[in-house]
């Protein structure tokens, strides 16, 4: 519980840094740190596979590509955003927070759930991915394929 509180506090601090930093690269690094802390949170919740995949995919691949793009474009600081965006964003975040806060009233949220030994392991994840969720899995693959083809088409047009 103490570990959870520390990790939760750190993740909130780094998420705040993501939006408050003026420097884009600092924001990106804060985001990478947030993703890393959330991965550690998964490790403490008996889901090591999810935690490692979180590092591998989000911190290791997606954030690197974001940094790559930042370095190619090199915007030294973000231009001031219009106030309307701040209001809209704050409203959206507030609505999400209220939704989650409603869940916290239920005592079942804090009850210790019974976790089977194979929970979160590669076998159980693969089992549900290729049986119960086979269709969404394939749809997601097609979606990624479409994105790849779209990227190639866009890159070709510029020549």
């Amino acid at each position: 519980m103490i570990l959870f509180l520390i990790l939760a506090f750190l993740s909130v601090v780094f998420s705040l840094l993501v939006v408050t930093q003026r420097n884009v690269v600092h924001s990106a690094m804060a985001l990478a740190a947030t993703l890393f802390i959330i991965a550690v949170l998964f490790l403490t919740l008996d889901a090591p596979m999810l935690g490692v995949l979180q590092i591998l995919i989000y911190a290791g691949a997606i954030m690197i590509l974001i940094l790559f793009v930042i370095m190619l474009l090199n915007p030294m600081s973000v231009e001031a955003r219009p106030a309307a965006w701040w209001t809209l964003g704050s409203l959206g975040a507030g609505a999400l927070f209220l939704q989650l806060a409603g869940l916290l009233h239920r005592p079942a949220v804090f009850a210790e759930a019974a976790v089977p030994a194979s929970f979160g392991g590669p076998e159980s994840i693969a089992q549900s991915l290729f049986t119960d969720f086979a269709l969404p899995f394939e749809v997601a693959s097609v979606l990624l394929l479409v994105a790849i083809i779209g990227a190639v088409v866009l890159a070709q047009r510029q020549r």
């Binding site: 090591p48 995949l53 290791g60 690197i64 940094l67 790559f68 370095m71």
Partner: protein, 364 residues
């Protein structure tokens, strides 16, 4: 409880100590080896009170002292915080990856079983890739924080190269995972102790020869050493991503590179060359396929296993150094072509053939 903690701490310390020291020794081996290859004398200037006889010891002492006492320079318009953070980010992944590499079988001391591996994760292979994917940060952040065109170019090159070769690396290992049916390094090494046709050890290189070539190539590319050192590219972009680094921070980049070499050697040994397996050596001694056995004490078996792992890993360290001084640097587009148009399709073909083989061989 306390004893368990002490054992884990001792193992972690031992592995870190070995990797860091081997990284230092490799720095000397590389300089001396390059001198031998290029017919020079080389690396004989460091002397303690006029005595230069112990080249290794002298260089090992002189290099870090020189580096640590040099001025630590941060470029005027660079980013102080990230410039300092980057070398740590470069060194960290190379050191923690070794945690899941087993360097011996279970050692039984006084009824207590000690697994000769720092952390026995059941998803160890995924952990290795997760840590390898983090090693890009050090280069990218260091390159950006230096506020230098050359270092930025090096950083962009490095990021593109490492992300590209990670894909080929991951796909080549999936074949191995399918053959042995586990993501756990220790279980994978145990499975490599089996014998094919009663005499051939079922090492990864025997089961998956193509995957070994792909993995080793990708692993060399991940260490950013010749022939894949475009991110540094001395003749084009001075020193690439670490051009603005000096003193202790440069030492960390330098040590990180050699730690990556050691880790890559450990990985190749674990995945493809049977890790700590010695052919025909079981827990109670040798059992030769031509009959005959040589019983050994458990401690002797463990020592042999750790020695086997060390020798194999050292061989691959040496091979990487020889490669570095034998091959010229690839051009950047050649690196990209090799990664995406040759290694990646070859890894996919290997994956497909392995899958077909497993389905065909499966008992109906």
């Amino acid at each position: 409880m306390m004893l368990d903690l002490a054992i884990v701490a001792a193992k972690a310390f031992l592995v870190l100590f070995m990797v860091l020291n081997l990284a230092g020794v490799l720095g000397w081996v590389e300089r001396k080896g390059s001198a031998l290859i290029q017919d020079r004398i080389g690396a004989n200037r460091a002397s303690v009170f006029g005595f230069a006889g112990l080249g290794l010891v002298n260089t090992l002492l002189a290099d870090p002292i020189k580096m640590l006492t040099k001025e630590d320079f941060i470029p005027a318009h660079g980013d102080r915080l990230l410039h300092t953070l980057a070398p740590c980010l470069a060194l960290f992944p190379a050191l923690v990856t070794f945690a899941v590499i087993p360097f011996g079988d279970v050692l039984v001391v006084g009824g207590r079983e000690i697994n000769l591996q720092v952390a026995n994760l059941n998803i160890g292979i995924l952990y290795i890739f997760a840590m390898a994917s983090l090693s890009v940060y050090g280069i990218v952040i260091g390159a950006w924080a230096s506020n230098n065109k050359f270092s930025l170019l090096g950083g962009v090159r490095g990021a593109a190269q490492m992300v590209s070769y990670e894909i080929a690396m991951g796909l080549s290992v999936i074949g191995i995972i399918m053959v042995y049916g586990t993501l756990e390094p220790q279980a994978m090494v145990r499975a490599q102790g089996e014998l094919l046709w009663g005499w051939l050890p079922a090492w990864g290189v025997v089961r998956q020869p193509l995957a070994f070539l792909l993995f080793f190539t990708a692993a060399v590319a991940e260490t950013k050493r010749l022939p894949f050192d475009a991110p540094e590219g001395e003749s084009e972009i001075v020193a690439g991503y670490h051009v603005e680094y000096s003193g202790g921070k440069f030492l960390m980049f330098f040590a990180g590179e050699f730690a990556e070499v050691v880790t890559a050697a450990g990985l190749v040994t674990t995945l493809f060359f049977g890790g700590w397996q010695v052919p025909y050596l079981l827990r109670d001694g040798f059992h030769f396929p031509w009959g005959g056995a040589l019983p050994l004490a458990p401690l002797a078996v463990t020592i042999l296993q750790v020695a086997a792992f060390t020798i194999k890993a050292l061989f691959f360290c040496w091979l990487q150094i020889i490669l570095r001084w034998t091959l010229p640097r690839f051009r950047y587009d050649q690196i990209m072509r090799l990664g995406w148009k040759m290694l990646l399709p070859a890894a996919l073909v290997n994956l497909f053939l392995t899958a077909v083989w497993i389905v065909v061989r499966r008992p109906a």
